[in-house]
Symmetry: C2
């Protein structure tokens, strides 16, 4: 194999994930390296495998240009000498070729691909080829099972022993919907372990982690998370805090721009994250309805079955609840506005959003029944009692404090954007449709989730009777320009249908 | 839409094709731009659409980092101000989504995708999604037809009027095989128009354009090519000389690292290039056998049918010839060694490679019969006469001269690598197999095609009887280190099987 010494030239640019080095055209010809070929790069210590980009201008012959990712992994500076040699393509690429041709992959092949994904060894072209061929050819139940195991194996795990450990997940697509922040304290207050990790928003106005962050830090080290759950039975942290099934984020990075959400990979990603935190009982929210990921009952039913089957193979007890996803759940959309909703329900404020309260109780009840804390049909009663007694709020405050927040924060302490725009009914009638996608787009244009105080307060709900001029929704932004952007988006979309 | 002014920071790095700009994390959040979202970037004149990469280090808030591609298109320098605004994703992306879900694309959708490919408007992820979904779902005859037309429409064309214009193409995979350099002069000398464009090597030891380049320039402006063909009836130029079906190269850039050669895209690419140079009669070489792209007769037959059908739809007369591709054609492998083979055949040297001579005559004969220059069954006779009479060599010299080369170059003027290694038979027997792939790998390791004089002289052919110690092949390199590399590759592969 060709092996040469090259001088480091730092490029100070991130690739967004994969390891890329840049070689001069002449250097590459000399080594017979072509665009996207692989090189092993090392400075005496740990070698890393990089994709090769070829340039005529950025680096000279004898130099090697490093993007930020390989720079950080190799810990080198300008002018350092690196040993560079051509290597064959990553092992997973062979398996990806198989999938392109429609072959079912075995455990080892799926592990090879997953490890290459986690090690940033695949180029965008190669990773996309895996994701798209899996999407077009489909993944078998066995392949999804192996992908789940590989995702767990290539990441870090938490271990809470053999006893029951619960988790909850929502397929998403419904604005607001911060049930997690209510379910966790209700359930944990009754001694049930539920180490919940949540995501941040990618295209939505807020992820659970973004909303929790209004009240306390969510990015905690693994050791701290273990401590909190050991002591308080629950937590509400960001899933990116430690290296939890890291293949998932790398897959999402490719799926997002293509707007695909391949079922097989989705199942594997969700289950791998749950298994990695030690869960063996999972309740899954399947929000169904127009504008959600599950537009029909049949689709929801199909996914329900897939989850149950996967759970059986993995030795995890899974139950799904089909919920109505055709409108926002709660009034707030955006981190601070959602956090206010949650505090209202916990403190039993008269103005609390009844839909959010009810949905959270439903899921807590299911967990009580699965765990044996309540008999079949008696879970709701227990959940209500726990919430109304203030025990859930007490547990909530303990978790917020343990995560480093202020447990005594009041609703009035939470700032929402002071630049507001009110959306009023243009005619009298009944609200027959609410456009979730438009709600999300407006809230993002207003600045959510990066501006915590930005978002919407959605007052009107489906089947409400309204008069002309009644308030339907308030837009909140933290600056005039973002409010104007939100209003511009608002004016281009139909949010409420009144008939 | 959000529109801001940002200060240019040139990054001096190529992306290898697509337009990418880099924004600071904070800037992107402020504009609600995510990784791979699109921005319209302009400096008063023509706007271009770029994909957005997000950085924490490379550029500051208020700046826009430009890779070389957008820098050259916008003609800007450090510190210039650009107007940047978010735009929706390219139109072709919607069509790609349809293909991902298995829908047959219509003419307009395929045109949208092709135009986006040519305009570098798709990211690697998006372009790969199109190529892989087309590969997995397949392209219908109608889709291939529309892709061919779109590829022609999005590039430049040559026009030689309505009369018969011929072309010749080989599916490839056979080392040596420089029939084009013999077919063109034989055919053109008889007044048949054949404006041949050829490719350079990507993974092979030499492309036709690389070998022609040993004798004369191949990168000529479009106007010059037209002039040469108008005067001499033929040319032998590089297909990248002008913007000929430019979508093709961009598709190949993604297919290569995945080692896929999707049939539909291959058909469209080949035919679009031929139609773009004005051809309406095409002869196609289908090399068949172990180690080629067509391992079985059935595969070759299938491709033959696909070409004939596409030809009918496009109004182009196509005939295919199945050839034996199980060993190199000619003795030379690598630019200079192949050029020597060609000159030997043209000058009727006794040591000329008979297989290369015969195959070239076969294709020239087919063209003579298709054009009516010879009656059915009489083409071979005419082709032999033209070659043996020296008329083909005369035409060859005229073309070489017209393209700017020395028509009087002699075989002894062509330098081959002086660092040599001889491969000898290890036992007595009959040669029953020659590994084309190993031949290619060794020649590349020796420095071909970048070192023109590097490559192999393959003496032994299939069915030859050899004694232990007989010379099978000579490796040529231009430096000791490259010879050593080639020998290393040689020792790891089985090139000849003797039984």
């Amino acid at each position: 194999m060709v092996r040469v010494s090259l001088k480091v030239k730092l490029l100070h640019i991130e690739t967004g994930g994969i390891n890329i080095v840049v070689l001069n055209d002449e250097q590459a010809k000399d080594m017979d390296l072509k665009h996207l070929d692989r090189a092993r790069v090392q400075n005496g210590r740990n070698p890393i495998i990089c994709s090769v980009d070829i340039t005529k201008v950025a680096v000279k012959k004898g130099e090697i240009g490093l993007f930020v990712e390989p720079e950080e992994k190799l810990k080198v500076k300008d002018g350092d000498i690196l040993m560079v040699e051509c290597v064959s393509k990553p092992k997973g690429l062979k398996a990806i070729r198989q999938k392109l041709d429609g072959k079912e992959l075995d455990e080892e092949e799926i592990y090879d691909i997953t490890r290459d994904i986690v090690n940033d060894a695949l180029s965008d072209v190669e990773l996309t080829a895996f994701i798209v061929s899996s999407y077009c050819r489909g993944l078998s139940l066995e392949e999804i099972y192996n992908l789940t195991k590989a995702m767990v194996k290539t990441g870090e795990v938490l271990d809470f022993g053999k006893g029951p450990v619960f988790d909850k997940h929502s397929i998403g697509g419904v604005p607001g919907n911060r049930t997690t922040m209510l379910i966790i304290p209700i359930v944990a207050s009754q001694g049930i372990k539920i180490p919940k990790t949540s995501s941040r928003a990618i295209t939505s106005p807020s992820g659970t982690a973004d909303t929790v962050e209004v009240l306390c830090p969510v990015d905690l080290p693994k050791k701290k998370i273990k401590e909190i759950v050991d002591k308080h039975n629950g937590c509400m942290v960001w899933g990116g805090s430690f290296n939890l099934a890291p293949a998932d984020d790398k897959i999402i990075r490719v799926e997002k721009p293509l707007s695909i959400d391949a079922e097989g990979q989705m199942l594997a990603s969700i289950l791998a994250k749950k298994i990695s935190v030690g869960s063996n009982h999972i309740v899954i929210d399947l929000p169904m309805g127009p504008g959600t990921k599950l537009p029909t009952h049949e689709r929801a039913e199909h996914l329900n079955e897939a989850f149950i089957n996967m759970g059986k193979k993995l030795g995890v007890k899974i139950e799904c609840i089909e919920s109505n996803g055709s409108q926002p759940c709660g009034n707030g959309v955006g981190p601070s506005l959602e956090a206010i909703d949650v505090l209202k329900v916990l403190t039993n404020e008269p103005s609390q959003p009844k839909d959010l309260r009810y949905k959270s109780l439903l899921f807590a009840a299911k967990i009580f029944e699965m765990s044996g804390k309540a008999k079949k049909g008696k879970g709701m009663e227990l959940a209500q009692k726990v919430l109304d007694s203030g025990k859930a709020y007490e547990k909530f405050k303990n978790i917020i404090k343990a995560q480093g927040g202020n447990p005594n924060i009041k609703i009035s302490d939470i700032k929402v954007g002071s630049f507001i725009y009110e959306v009023k009914a243009e005619c009298r009638g009944i609200i027959t449709m609410i456009n979730n996608k438009a709600i999300a787009d407006i809230a993002r244009a207003a600045g959510a989730p990066y501006n915590h105080g930005a978002g919407l307060f959605v007052k009107a709900k489906l089947s409400d009777a309204v008069n002309k001029g009644d308030l339907l929704m308030t837009v909140h932004a933290e600056s005039r320009i973002k409010l104007l952007r939100a209003v511009e988006v608002l004016e281009s979309k139909k949010v409420f249908t009144i008939q």
